[in-house]
């Protein structure tokens, strides 16, 4: 059952083509990777899927409906959540508050309850607090819940970003270089975490990564992007030995 299907996606900036002829499909519960040299357009693809950019042409069907042209907050409400290449936490908010924001789109009380502090407000806040704490516990961040997000060490900031994305209750989770800046042990822990949340939360996961051990280790399928176009697609073993992929990463062969 396909959860997201992209056809003929294209986007250019000021005459420069960033993504072209992009065709892509994810089935439920898959764990798929998107790799390619720097500047290949991977984050642009993520931005197109999540609605940050509007494509020049093409269609993106998520969960049976066209999402091209919809605003990002609507796409999130439909079940796509993401993390960012350069961490984008709410720096001046606490760790707990960062996660609580993910719950806002489904908030159970209204403005009037807020202003007049009706019982619905207290009930709703308690619910949000409990849910958010649950996510922090999963990601082993509960003991730092009142810490300002900006004060966390780098690895924990990345975990917080994933926790926050997960707290929106998505069907599709998009991770943009989640292992960036991590040492081998942290990367291995991350691999286990990704596989665990995929099964426990019944997610489909798409990830961009440069760390090949992570990509080859967890991804069931891999798409390779170069200069905005897909140059290869298949299982990890196929990709590993693909000449075009190797050439894209290493440049022209020097004889």
């Amino acid at each position: 059952m396909s959860i997201i299907e992209i056809k003929n996606l294209a986007k250019s900036f000021g005459g420069l083509s960033a993504v072209l002829n992009f065709n892509f499909r994810l089935d439920e519960n898959e764990l798929v990777g998107l790799i390619g040299p720097n500047g290949a357009g991977k984050t642009t693809v993520f931005n197109l899927i999540t609605g940050v950019y509007k494509p020049d042409q093409g269609s993106i069907i998520f969960d049976g409906e066209e999402i091209v042209g919809r605003p990002p907050y609507n796409i999130c409400a439909r079940g796509i959540a993401r993390t960012f290449q350069n961490i984008r936490l709410f720096n001046d908010l606490s760790v707990l508050d960062n996660v609580k924001i993910a719950a806002h789109k489904d908030v159970s009380y209204g403005l009037l309850s807020t202003i007049f502090r009706a019982p619905a407000f207290f009930r709703g806040e308690k619910q949000i607090e409990q849910e958010s704490l649950k996510y922090l516990e999963i990601f082993k961040l509960a003991d730092k819940k009142d810490e300002l997000a900006r004060n966390l060490p780098y690895g924990e900031q990345r975990r917080l970003e994933i926790a926050r994305a997960l707290a929106t209750g998505p069907k599709l989770l998009i991770l943009d270089e989640p292992a960036a800046g991590m040492n081998p042990q942290e990367t291995k822990d991350l691999m286990n975490l990704i596989e665990w949340i995929r099964s426990d939360f019944n997610l489909t996961i798409l990830l961009i990564e440069h760390d090949m051990s992570l990509v080859m280790g967890v991804c069931e399928r891999i798409y390779v992007l170069d200069y905005g176009q897909i140059i290869a697609h298949g299982k990890p073993e196929e990709i590993r030995n693909n000449k075009q992929v190797i050439q894209a990463y290493l440049g022209e062969e020097v004889e």
């Binding site: 900036f13 000021g14 960033a18 931005n47 940050v52 950019y53």
Partner: protein, 304 residues
């Protein structure tokens, strides 16, 4: 002469007269707008204090004429030098520390600097306006083909055009100009090319402020008075002109300045003078809502 023909000639004359008035006003707006646009182009800051730098220029020109007895051209040169220095100093103390802060922080500081210039002038020189003595520039009117042109109009338009030509030369033909363009486009790359960003930004402020000073002296000449708050409204209008033409683009400032000047003169001449000031605000709101990049601006999607 048959009556209908007289009427058409009268309309033509009226139109051309307004056009000349509009060109004078437009020249002044264009000069001030150039300063806004150059600074915005290079550090993405709306220099709120720019109109007040113009005011300081007007005052320097005033004292130059009344205390030193210099002629109008010398006064303008003094004003330009003084304001060039002022612009560089302001950039160094107030804007440079915030170069890596949010644009909002820099904007608030610019507001503070604007208020400071205005009220420091009031504090030191008093709030009343100062009037140029009659002898300063005797008004001379020339009649060409039925149109009235004063020597003030000629002075303003000619000086403005000369200054703009000089500016174009600096931007296009000198190393400094190339550096300014480079820093505007990509600051980090400019550094890697060995360009001193600090120096280039200082020069930009110097040139922009000098042009504003020239405009200030022209306004002083035009209205025969200077006062500490004279920079506010023209400053705002010149900013609108810069946005209208395309903020950050030098030709845009020139185009925007003349268009706004002519537009305002026509509205005031043919419509109601009460709404004269509203023209600028109206234009600003329309531009920001319809095409924020201005008349000459391009709509490039930004790559995040």
């Amino acid at each position: 002469m048959p009556l209908p023909l007289l009427k058409e000639v009268a309309i033509m004359l009226e139109f051309s007269q307004q056009l000349i008035n509009g060109l004078s006003l437009g020249a002044i707006y264009a000069l001030i707008a150039l300063g806004y646009t150059m600074v915005y182009g290079i550090i993405l800051l709306i220099n709120f204090a720019h109109g007040d730098i113009m005011m300081v220029g007007a005052f320097v020109g005033f004292y130059s004429i009344t205390l030193l007895g210099s002629n109008i051209v010398a006064a303008m040169i003094f004003a330009m030098i003084a304001c060039a220095i002022l612009g560089v100093v302001i950039e160094k103390i107030a804007y440079r520390p915030l170069r890596n802060s949010t644009r909002i922080a820099a904007l608030i500081t610019a507001i503070g600097m604007s208020l400071f210039l205005e009220y420091a002038t009031i504090f030191l020189l008093g709030p009343q306006q100062k009037v140029f003595p009659q002898s300063a520039f005797p008004l001379q009117q020339y009649e060409i083909m039925g149109l009235l042109i004063t020597n003030k109009d000629i002075f303003i338009i000619v000086s403005a055009v000369v200054l703009m030509i000089i500016l174009q030369f600096i931007i296009k033909q000198t190393k400094t100009g190339k550096a300014m363009r480079a820093v505007s486009v990509d600051r980090e790359a400019a550094v890697l090319m060995g360009i001193s960003v600090d120096k280039t930004i200082s020069i930009t402020f110097a040139i922009g402020s000098a042009l504003a000073a020239a405009a200030g002296v022209m306004i002083g000449v035009y209205y025969n008075t200077v006062n500490p708050l004279m920079g506010i409204i023209p400053g705002l209008k010149a900013f609108v002109a810069a946005v209208l033409g395309g903020i950050g683009l030098i030709p845009g400032a020139m185009v925007g300045g003349f268009v706004l000047g002519i537009l305002e003169t026509f509205v005031s001449g043919y419509g109601s003078s009460l709404y004269r000031d509203a023209v600028a605000f109206g234009v600003l709101i329309l531009i920001l809502l319809i095409k924020p990049t201005g008349l000459l601006g391009k709509n490039t999607g930004e790559k995040v």
